[in-house]
């Protein structure tokens, strides 16, 4: 273990005991949080007979990729590979849409004067407090009206209308020093040039945070896609997992393989962009 090298002496012995206790607690907690995820991976690599046979074994007694081949096979009735790409396209498109629309709107709200600005901002912010459930049935009909049911547009576009991105970026734009923009204006730059050449390059960190949070939210969204996507070829991974659970009931090697497929991208995003995610979450609390 790190940090347990003790120096002799009474006081240090107490410190050491405290440190050991802290690490014991930390490691126990790590096990609690990580063990179920490892169990999912381990199960996905077992032949199905092993997943329901007692006594259970921690690691596969016999490695098997049966679970993966069942769903990743191109002729599969539950085409997890298709769901994976659907999820990827939906997540990326939704994120891009949020970044573009929210950053432009947030800049106007942070830095420009126009009629009705206060009312508009109050209206946008107040929708942060609207319980999203009241939008469920009306939005279903709107999406149906556009002919988007059972298409990826249904899980890309409506989700970009939320106020969080606008609110989040506006806060950041307000904190930027105005002098930069004023200097650029004196040099004859217009608002568009200032936005694209000065503001956006200065906003890489908040844009990255918003991008990562938006992608994770979209990737993990469950209720909405369960109801607006229905044919196997048009599902994203979360409703797909629900289908797997129904279709393979106790074929847990298959279901856990689906879980692993749905987890890998977000875990990679988490490892690479941990700083942005954790800062984004932490900051959301400090604002409140």
């Amino acid at each position: 273990m790190q940090g347990t090298t003790a120096k002799p002496g009474g006081r240090n012995a107490g410190d050491l005991a405290k440190k050991l206790l802290t690490y014991a607690a930390l490691i126990l907690l790590t096990l609690i949080f990580v063990a179920p995820l490892l169990w999912m991976v381990s199960t996905s690599l077992k032949p199905n007979t092993e997943t329901t046979a007692l006594p259970l074994s921690l690691l596969p007694k016999q490695f098997s990729t049966e679970g993966y081949s069942t769903i990743l096979n191109s002729g599969s009735q539950s085409p997890a590979l298709v769901w994976f790409f659907n999820s990827m396209i939906a997540g990326l498109a939704n994120t891009l849409l949020i970044l573009v629309t929210a950053s432009m709107a947030a800049y106007a709200l942070a830095r420009m004067e126009f009629r009705g600005k206060r009312v508009l901002f109050a209206m946008i912010i107040s929708t942060l407090f609207i319980p999203p459930i009241i939008l469920l049935t009306p939005n279903y009909q709107i999406v149906d009206l556009f002919g988007w049911l059972d298409t990826l547009l249904a899980v890309i576009v409506p989700g970009a209308a939320g106020a969080f991105g606008v609110f989040f970026l506006r806060q950041f734009f307000l904190s930027l020093p105005k002098e930069l923009e004023e200097a650029a204006m004196l040099d004859g730059a217009n608002r568009y040039q200032i936005f694209f050449r000065i503001i956006l390059p200065l906003s890489k960190a908040p844009l990255a945070t918003l991008a990562v949070l938006s992608f994770l939210t979209n990737w993990n969204d469950f209720l909405w896609p369960v109801y607006v996507l229905f044919t196997p070829g048009s599902l994203t991974l979360p409703p797909g997992l629900s289908i797997l659970q129904g279709a393979y009931s106790i074929n847990y090697a298959v279901i856990m393989a689906g879980g692993v497929v749905a987890s890998i991208p977000v875990l990679i995003v988490f490892i690479l962009a941990q700083r942005y995610i954790i800062q984004g979450v932490a900051r959301s609390g400090l604002k409140g």
Binding site: F33, L135, G162, S175, M256, G288
Partner: protein
């Protein structure tokens, strides 16, 4: 400090429209400019179509017998609402049962999700090596969606060959046959437990940021004054965390009251719809049975509850601050 900066810059007069610098002269006349509207337009289209219109359209739907599969949706006034308060109507019993389920889930999960993450954050707030590693580990389940953790726990909680019963059986608890997903109170323990496991890291990170925001000199001063660890916690840590606490309580209540996926995937509402939450029932009524009028009415009643709870909660926690 950051917040003050934001306030200050926000309060400064902004050049109008296309944004010529205020030249010091009294340029009271503002030239109209399309620029702000061009910047706002893309978002406002989305906002109008998918937030504003549906928020109002939902009310309109709720005043009709809006069966999506039928040709006509006749006006019924407040009937969808009065039905919910009429014992014996087709929806009242199921709706209030689902509200009760949401209430039970919220009542048990919120205290756990307010207290345990604080303890975890206090451990993480000490100085030791590998802090970022442990912080990431505790947060990891949260980045996975409810679909993944739902199918995972449904397997782990299986009464016959789930790992939870297996491990309990090894230490001689419950004969290895606890009906985790099919009988009460076990189903609630499962749903609350897996939710605490799943979302604890989120709250812990917010607490941790709050703890790190507390001025360290306060602790030093208290130590000099002879305050013990417990007194420092009560008199410095807790008051310092108050805004964060208000945020966490509010967000956790709202998240719990919106619970859907866990019940949908793990218990499927069992036993006898007793763990079917309000959101789950509203979604079924509106998007499976297509009785959208009554589903919309229910969603507004639920929303009313949520808004009331938020307001009460805000009042209550702000009041204790003034004491």
């Amino acid at each position: 400090m950051a917040a003050q900066n934001i306030e200050q810059t926000g309060a400064q007069p902004t050049p109008p429209g296309s944004g010529y610098p205020t030249g010091g002269k009294a340029d009271t006349k503002r030239a109209f400019s399309w620029t702000p509207y061009v910047f706002l337009a893309p978002y406002l289209v989305l906002f109008t179509v998918f937030v504003l219109i549906p928020a109002v359209f939902g009310l309109w739907i709720s005043l009709h017998n809006w069966d999506y599969l039928l040709a006509k949706q006749p006006w019924v006034g407040l009937e969808n609402y009065t039905n919910l308060f009429t014992p014996g109507s087709p929806t009242a019993g199921f709706f209030w049962q689902s509200m009760e389920a949401t209430g039970i889930f919220t009542l048990f999960s919120v205290p756990l999700l307010v207290i345990i993450p604080l303890l975890v954050a206090l451990i993480l707030n000490q100085s030791f090596r590998g802090r970022n590693f442990f912080r990431a580990m505790y947060f990891a389940p949260y980045v996975l969606g409810v679909a993944v953790i739902g199918v995972l726990w449904q397997y782990m909680l299986n009464p016959g060959f789930g790992v939870i019963n297996y491990l309990l059986g090894l230490v001689g608890i419950g004969d290895g046959a606890v009906p985790w997903t099919t009988a009460l109170p076990w189903a609630w323990i499962s749903l609350v437990g897996m939710t605490v496991w799943w979302t604890l890291g989120f709250n812990a990170i917010i607490y941790l940021a709050g703890l790190q925001d507390i001025n360290a000199e306060l602790y030093e001063a208290a130590k000099v004054d002879g305050a013990n660890r417990w007194q420092r916690f009560w008199n410095i840590t807790l008051p310092g965390l108050r805004p964060v606490l208000l945020f966490i309580v509010t967000v956790t209540i709202l998240a719990s009251a919106n619970m859907f996926g866990q019940s949908y995937l793990v218990t499927d509402g069992a036993p006898a719809n007793q763990t079917r939450t309000a959101i789950m029932y509203i979604a079924e009524e509106g998007l499976e049975n297509f009785r959208m009028g009554s589903a919309a009415a229910m969603s507004y009643i639920l929303a009313l509850f949520l808004v009331l709870i938020s307001i009460l909660n805000f009042r209550f926690l702000n009041q204790t601050e003034e004491d």
